[in-house]
Symmetry: D2
Subunit: 392 residues, 4 copies
């Protein structure tokens, strides 16, 4: 759904990428831009410039991560003619300002999740994205786990009807990096900078997967939040933790299924354990991000005596994205999904498939991110209303 | 806490057992009575009489399951002098009448869970049990999974402080025997006979384990119930299913932890999957009833580079109940927990440890069952009140 | 293949069983005789008499394990008219004498594995068994793992052609009870009493399963034995260990497959880990005795993108022996296979299917045991000949 | 052990790399050179030139894989002044000629395993490497799995004495890409091009790991080889397969342990399953390359009731190489080990640690490769001698 004025991909030079942010996510995105052209048939990219506020640090990052230049002012960067894609890896509270400006500057945008820290910002971003998409720009949201091959295979199996009608979806995302009460205060534990806690950070993935895999949207929720360590040591003394350490929710999905979500940063021994289970009338699926190359599929139409969950090692050329990688049995890591994501973004740009906000282009886009944000808000509202149902 | 008039164990003859019911649970209890004396040092028992309403069927059951006699009138049976223990394996709606009568007749009672189908009945049973316990009788409730060795080991590890302070407890119990919409109506799907659905039947186990393992009681709950197949074919045409197919709850525990519960009879491919996870400040535990000989323990005080969940194969003589069974590595099955339960009951009788309703005797007793019933009721009430918190 | 004079099952009274031995195996067999009638439709049995050399100990065992009488002289016992089945659970060096006498006395015999400690004894036993089988007696050998439901299912899948032509079979049986160098000398570590070490004790199971599951016999072997702790403390000072602690072999099977075997009593952390893997042109299977209710099956004819090992939880009524036990998902333990074995023996007796040494009756019989013993001997001979091939 | 004339790392420009070969291994090594500088603090590298015989194909590979230039004559390339490192990813029969020439030209060399196809070639390579090492050049052999973090952790645990004295080591490497009899003839199935079959290709990894992890060398072997599909369709009609499809061996290790090896390309459903198990007097380890981020460690000195295999998710900053990668729980893939390997090579060059053939530099070096080749040869010789022991 490209507009006549779509920027699409330049034909005479590589697509220029500007990366805003150089921390954990900046490193992961750098790896994706570094490797995507070797793995996939995509338009060439040039890693033009990496942006950060600390000159010294961003200079070192440029050197280390392989960017041609570094810069400290993102406004100048998004105005450059040789920048086609702006990749935003800043903390969430900066997403709206940068993304809107970049879109208005005519750039394709890839924005890390969450879309924004509050709904007003997210709505403004969606408005800007719609206008940009109408001009042919791509406005992509970085829910990278949508590009984990096993989860894409899961989606295909559901779409092919192999689960029948899905009745029950379970997703939990458990981590343990806040178990220690002595761990200090950070911006991630303040509502004003982080928006929310485990719910927004990792619960967003859990809910996104439930919706993405089932193909059902959340119609209503009930939620509970808990802050298990309410105070932590800050630089200027004890501070209140103002976000959740853990959260629980049930989701009424519009296709009739019930989803359940449990997330925590206090689950001792769980490192990055996003577990997903889907139960349908004809089959079931299980997945665990700590073993990301495995998908467990049960075909309930098989003879009873042979039924069970099949461990599919998702490393065959027949599997999503895998033809580009290594031979069967040679497993992928967490980072490869970022490369897969970069591929899909580049193909959307090449093909001028901006989606125009109508769901036909790169998925998820900003509108998807806003919809998800509203689910998170509803869970928070439900908890605030003593657990009652909040309808979307 | 024995009273002077405690019946305790007769010294001149084996303890006579009467079993009421001969279906699935009757078979499992029969196996326990048949094997307990070979596995453990316990008072002798005589399998005196099995009781059922269908003369032909109960006669065959007596023959098959190895009971000396059969009978169709439980009232006559509980009056017999040679009956010391009444073991109740009927559907739940019959528990109260039989148990109260048996206790009043001076018998020790083992009653299958759930204690009763409604709270009024349960309260009456507790009253009768207290009086009986004061006379030295044992009134035991059959939450058999409390005698699964791996779960007893889990409890010991928690009690020994190996998990530190528990913050989060997860329990799910998933089955799939109602996935097929064509499966017919049964008494288990009618509220008047079954009390509740998945919640009472298997959710009771999940909640009991959370409380038993953490040592914390439920102070407040939020719940949701769902009936996914609302109508099924009955003998006289389509009938409404009046109990839940699946249920979800969060529990505020009085020790500060949050518990979560998810149960279902619609979880395709899950056969008898009671999964329990505990997360504490110093460690964590995982268990799955489909692999009941395994307990997974993480010691968070170990050096980081060596930390992880340890798969303990609970078959060592050092493990609970195991000295009585087979050498290491020779695993137990589901049924052995019933034998372990029979052992504990017989020892309580032998030692005159009736508990007198004060928690010092066989656990759980009827008061524990009533307390659990109130948690289940609160979850149902919460769902009826749109998910709001119900305090216990 | 019953002879006219077959003793078969008496019709007027239960089959009388005499059990010789009351240690570990005696306990397991007692459990089987105690429970078989409750689980299965079989002829009634009476646990007549248990036999041991220590009057006091066997008297206690009779009481504990539920035998009507005890005795110290097995010769008197096998002469009794009310004894129909002689169940031999003594150490291996006593098997031949007792089994031959019992068979000659007209009794059905169940003899624990191994058949005998040396081939000469085994040959004599086979002669006696053939004569007895011709008279309609059953001469059964107790390779109990043939009655583990998951392994029977495995055999069915192979027999149904689901694996195609099997090319490779792997079996390992690892235990760790001799890891400690301080563990004292026992009769199991002396060649004259035990025959061999890990090879005969647990390697026999591994090889039996390879042959049973593939349906192929061993045509030639290469082997290696090792004694890792060559001396241990005996009652009268240090003694030489004269059997193997671990053994390895490759088997040329007559159907063209290659089998590999590795067994050890020194595999730290392995408790009772019999692992079996079969690889065929159309499929594959995996099994682990520490998780005995699971069979892993791969169907290589399925679409590549969905292929993988399916974890079949072998607890469905459709699975071998399971209809007699508990509902789906309620797992069996190690001991249940003994009950299944007792069932098959009783049905063979009831039906007069003695096999007459021709492989049509209870399997394995003594001839099977002799054939297996020859494989074990060949492995020992190969090791003695520096690893060269020994043909059977 | 640097010589005064050591080339070491140039200080004024990046180290220039030439890659010979652009197939599977060429792609993997390209990924390593592409990413090593971003992940680790290492000397800069320039991906100068990629070499192949097919001009068109190597030109495309250069473009795709990100090399500055391409070339078709490796002799010219190794003579270039701007090339410091020659990375050899050709089939094995070309290794010797290229590696010797490159070493003589003063270059550092990384040669993919196997070192060579026959021992004479390997010996010549070792001679060349010794001379080059004396000049300060690094001659590295690419047994990449030595850089899988979980296996390095395993080695550390062994070296720290956590397993005590190792008695038994098991390694199997199972794949299934030759199961289909219709799969055509390739150079990998001809002895003259491939040297050997499964034994050399994947058995070499199994044996290398046994030796590397135990720290023990192979003193003697017994072996068996099998070719299960002896003929395959070649371009000019049916051809004999002249290498092994599967192989088995037992190894006497010089520290007293016994090793066992089983490898196959016919193991239906096994994709890239290198499994390693070590059993010692104080502990045990298990590893599976299909789940490469997990190491299973059993501490046999822990209390019995808590013992078991601990699943260590090897993704902590405390684990080998991991500080350079992602946060805990964010798993690595197969490819990352190549980057780790490139790091170690660059550090060896930077530090002038050539090893001089004495085992102090990059490990493994060519001498290690020759030693391993001799073990493989011994296994082949043993099989040819009917399985008898061949001493090294």
């Amino acid at each position: 759904m490209t507009s006549p004025s779509a920027p699409a991909a330049p034909t005479d030079r590589p697509l220029g990428v500007a990366l805003i942010g150089y921390a954990f996510m900046g490193r992961a995105h750098s790896q994706a831009w570094r490797t995507v052209g070797a793995a996939f048939e995509v338009p060439d990219v040039a890693r033009k410039v990496i942006v950060g506020r600390d000159e010294q640090a961003v200079s070192e990052a440029a050197d280390r991560l392989g960017w041609e230049e570094h810069a400290t002012d993102w406004r100048e960067v998004i105005a450059r003619d040789d920048v086609d894609i702006v990749d935003i890896c800043t903390p969430g509270f900066l997403h709206a300002e940068i993304a809107i400006a970049a879109l208005e500057a005519g750039k394709h945008v890839l924005c890390e999740k969450p879309l924004a820290n509050d709904t007003a910002e997210a709505e403004a971003m969606v408005e800007a994205a719609k206008a940009a998409q109408a001009r042919g720009q791509v406005a992509a949201l970085g829910f990278t786990y949508r590009r984990v091959p096993a989860l894409v295979l899961a989606k295909q199996l559901v779409a092919d009807g192999r689960l029948g009608s899905i009745r029950q979806a379970r997703a939990s995302y458990l981590q343990d990096w806040l178990v220690d009460e002595g761990a200090p205060m950070t911006w991630r534990l303040r509502k004003e900078t982080a928006g929310s806690g485990a719910l927004g950070d990792i619960g967003s993935h859990a809910i996104d997967q439930i919706q993405e895999l089932t193909g059902q949207r959340t119609a209503a929720v009930r939620g509970r939040l808990a802050t298990m360590v309410p105070e932590r040591a800050g630089e200027d003394g004890t501070e209140q933790v103002t976000v959740d350490d853990a959260a629980w929710a049930t989701l009424e999905l519009d296709g009739g299924a019930v989803g359940s979500v449990e997330v925590s940063r206090m689950a001792t021994g769980a490192k990055n354990r996003l577990q997903i289970e889907l139960y349908g009338t004809a089959g079931a699926l299980k997945f665990d991000l700590e073993s990301p190359n495995e998908l467990w599929f049960l075909d309930a139409t098989a003879p009873i005596a042979e039924q069970g969950f099949t461990r599919i090692l998702v490393t065959e050329p027949e599997h999503p994205y895998l033809e580009a990688w290594w031979p069967q049995g040679h497993v992928l890591g967490w980072e490869n999904a970022f490369t897969n994501q970069a591929r899909d973004l580049l193909l959307a740009i090449r093909d001028g498939v901006s989606g125009a906000g109508d769901g036909t282009g790169f998925s998820p886009d900003f509108a998807d991110g806003l919809a998800l944000q509203r689910v998170l808000d509803a869970i928070i509202a439900s908890d605030a209303a003593d657990g009652t149902t909040v309808t979307l």
